[in-house]
């Protein structure tokens, strides 16, 4: 039974990581932008959700408002700034790095330096018995939400026109453009959607992991580990990477506590040696 709980923990944590890493991976896959602002999208999304939750008491509204707000901010950053440096990786990365700091200070100014925690939605504020143990219902909810979003994204990518265009753009943006796909709009959409996903992750994670100055950096590092393990630019990779990292992190901390500081990084190093492109990466 204890194994079941460890695996569930790992999967729940992995699902959160997936929400954050999926956008990062897609944005890199399509635009070759290493978006360091992604950590800010996560943290800001969480903070916005927290404020909405405090004002309205509605968790669903918190999720939606955060996703829309961060989606718009993402779109604006892509349109107004990143666009000017298309395929110019260093200026783009530095630009997103700059935004990361600006947002970090902005968050400190708006929400202060104390760690803040979102209230767990009332319905999920209980645990379900699991043998002699009890397991938090909210974590099961996280697993369900993560699975639905992963399934939705997969369906979108494989079975919609926009998804096909997206795959075409990832494979070869220039040919896609030559075929009449409006890559420009696609870029903005994907960037905004990636940002919204990260903010979704931020709101969902806030009742468990809390929001604090520096959570943006911490999360960004984890998201990078996930997409390096899973392979850049692949949704499947992000999912596999997130679950693998989540589960290994949990088991590592449980059974090799003296290595708790690098349970996440050891698997990454091993995978980089065995498969330099990650589990599902190409080239």
């Amino acid at each position: 039974m204890i194994w079941t709980i460890h695996i569930l923990n790992g999967v729940a944590y992995g699902m959160l990581l997936f929400l954050i890493a999926a956008g990062l991976s897609l944005i890199y896959g399509l635009m070759k932008i290493l978006n360091l602002t992604h950590g800010s999208f996560y943290l800001f999304g969480g903070y916005i959700g927290l404020t909405v939750m405090q004002k309205t008491g509605s968790f669903v509204l918190a999720l939606l408002v955060a996703a829309v707000a961060i989606g718009l901010i993402g779109a604006a950053i892509e349109r107004l700034f990143l666009r000017r440096f298309h395929l110019d990786e260093l200026p783009q990365t530095l630009l997103t790095f700059g935004f990361l700091f600006i947002f970090s200070d902005l968050a400190l100014w708006l929400w202060g330096g104390d760690p803040l925690m979102l209230d767990t939605p009332h319905f999920f504020e209980r645990s379900v018995p699991l043998g002699e143990y009890a397991y938090p219902l909210y974590r099961l909810f996280l697993i369900a939400v993560g699975s639905v979003i992963a399934g939705g994204l997969w369906w979108f990518q494989e079975h919609t026109r926009l998804g096909t265009m997206l795959r075409a753009g990832v494979d070869d943006a220039e040919i896609a453009r030559a075929l009449g796909i409006n890559v420009s709009v696609l870029f903005t959409l994907v960037f905004a959607a990636g940002a919204a996903l990260a903010s979704f992750g931020g709101v969902l994670a806030a009742p468990e992991l809390s929001l604090y100055p520096g959570a943006d950096f911490d999360t960004l590092i984890l998201a990078f580990v996930v997409i390096i393990v899973g392979g850049l630019g692949s949704l499947r990779g992000a999912l596999a990477g997130a679950l693998l990292v989540g589960i290994l992190d949990d088991l590592g901390k449980a059974f090799f506590p003296q290595f708790a500081l690098f349970t996440v990084f050891v698997p990454m190093a091993v995978i980089l040696v065995v498969r330099p492109t990650g589990l599902f990466g190409r080239r």
């Binding site: 923990n9 925690m117 468990e208 992190d249 506590p257 708790a260």
Partner: protein
């Protein structure tokens, strides 16, 4: 306090906001420059000291941004409440506070210390929350013979014990790491009758120190730590630790500062452990007043040991708590009264030397005779400049509409070696330094040299 300090609170705020930008990076430089411009303007406002009674400048080193911002603000508020209460005058001189943000970072703190001492000419340093900052600034204080009055936290045991880190120019009016733990062990064994405990403590020097002090005293009384887990400070998911938790133990003993305490407290309740395993918080970190409202009912019933609780029933404390809330809007935590106490000690010592701080030995001697009542109880100093004070066991209860750490037991006259004498303390063969995988081994913990 002179005109400059009275009028520049807005400027200081601007400066602090400017500093936020400079924290880890160059891009904030613009913001800092803007802040610096404001400060420069503020500096032009002339101070108006009488020529024969110039102000005595006191350098306040507190983290106002970063992870330690909350305790830093608490310390500063406590210092100001006392100094304002005596009209910012001591020994016939006006007092001038110059506040610098250490950001909780030792390197930044040393730079700021240099600035305070070498450019601003401060004669006493005070404040300091982080132990790492305290160690760095204490080095400077020892080398340059600048009196340092710790009034934030800075709980590293060795700072006031004879040895390599001892500093004749330092006194501490806050607390050290080990005594709240020793008191907690006493309470656990004698009052609660617990015989076994499972320990979760954040994996850094203070956490290891606190866990060791608890385990050692608990063993000596006849108890035993059955399991010790050391999650990294930035752990997000405590699931693995809580799943592995030894549920047969009588209690869970924790030290998890900042966001760590918030996460652990909440997840502990979520995993259905609340009510099954009592929580004993070694330093009031999980039950830190600033975070209690967020923990909500998950915190109810948690015990903690610390030098203060805002619910102490003395006139002095009641007026302090009221004034604190009026100024900051917040409940006072332990740093507020420690700031107040530090300020009191400084002012008394300045009075004793009649405002002449040139003789450092005389001034330090005056500081070390401190003995007075404070919001946290009456205090005095031992021969090494460490405060002797009361320690409280608190329990999180509903007080009206809010949650509070209500005192349920008091331990009087707790010195830094409590419950041992200095000789007995020094006679133990092992210190916390290499105790991490030995916490369940009573023979090792109690071995003598």
């Amino acid at each position: 306090m002179t005109l400059r300090n009275e009028t520049d609170s807005g400027a200081r705020r601007a400066r602090v906001e400017g500093r936020v930008g400079a924290r880890r990076h160059a891009l904030g430089a613009i913001a800092t420059a803007a802040g610096a411009a404001v400060v420069t303007l503020a500096l032009i406002v002339p101070a108006l000291p009488a020529p024969d009674a110039g102000p005595i400048k006191i350098g306040v080193l507190v983290p106002l941004t970063g992870n330690f911002a909350a305790p830093g603000q608490q310390t500063l508020a406590g210092l100001k409440i006392y100094f304002d209460g005596i009209g910012n005058k001591a020994g016939g001189h006006p007092l001038e506070l110059i506040v610098e943000d250490t950001q909780g970072n030792p390197e930044v703190a040393v730079t700021k210390t240099r600035k305070l001492v070498e450019r601003d000419g401060v004669q006493v340093l005070t404040g300091i929350v982080s132990s790492a900052v305290a160690l760095a600034v204490s080095d400077y204080s020892r080398t340059n013979q600048v009196p340092l009055v710790l009034s934030g936290d800075a709980a590293t045991d060795e700072l006031t014990m004879p040895g390599k880190l001892a500093n004749p120019y330092l006194v501490r009016l806050t607390e050290n790491s080990r005594t709240p733990s020793a008191v907690a062990a006493d309470f656990a064994y004698k009052t609660k009758g617990w015989r076994t405990a499972t320990v979760i403590t954040s994996d850094y020097v203070a956490g290891v120190d606190l866990a060791f002090a608890f385990a050692q005293r608990f063993c000596q009384l006849g108890g035993k730590v059955t399991q010790a887990q050391y999650p990294p400070l930035d752990t997000g998911d405590y699931g693995p630790y809580l799943t592995n938790l030894d549920r047969t133990a009588n209690a869970m003993v924790v030290f998890t500062p900042g966001a760590a305490g918030l996460k652990l407290g909440r997840q502990f309740a979520e995993f259905g452990l609340k009510g099954k395993l009592p929580e004993l918080d070694l330093f009031g970190t999980l039950t830190y007043e600033s975070y209690l409202p967020q923990l909500g009912d998950a915190a109810l019933g948690a015990y903690s040991a610390l030098i203060y609780t805002p619910y102490l029933n003395t006139a002095l404390n009641k007026s302090f708590v009221a004034e604190f809330r009026k100024r900051t809007g917040n409940q006072a935590t332990n740093e507020g009264p420690s700031g107040w106490t530090g300020a009191h000690a400084i002012a008394d010592a300045i009075d004793a030397v009649k405002g002449d701080l040139s003789d450092k030995t005389k001034f330090m001697g005056a500081l070390r005779t401190a003995k007075f009542d404070t919001p946290k109880g009456s205090i005095s100093l031992d021969k090494d400049g460490m405060v002797v004070q009361s320690m409280y066991i608190r329990e999180v209860q509903k007080v009206g509409a809010e949650l509070g750490n209500v005192p349920i037991a008091t331990y009087h006259d707790i010195g830094q070696y409590w419950p041992y004498s200095e000789t007995e303390f020094q006679s133990f063969a092992h210190t916390y330094n290499d105790s991490k995988d030995k916490l369940t081994d009573c023979a090792w913990l109690l071995a003598k040299k």
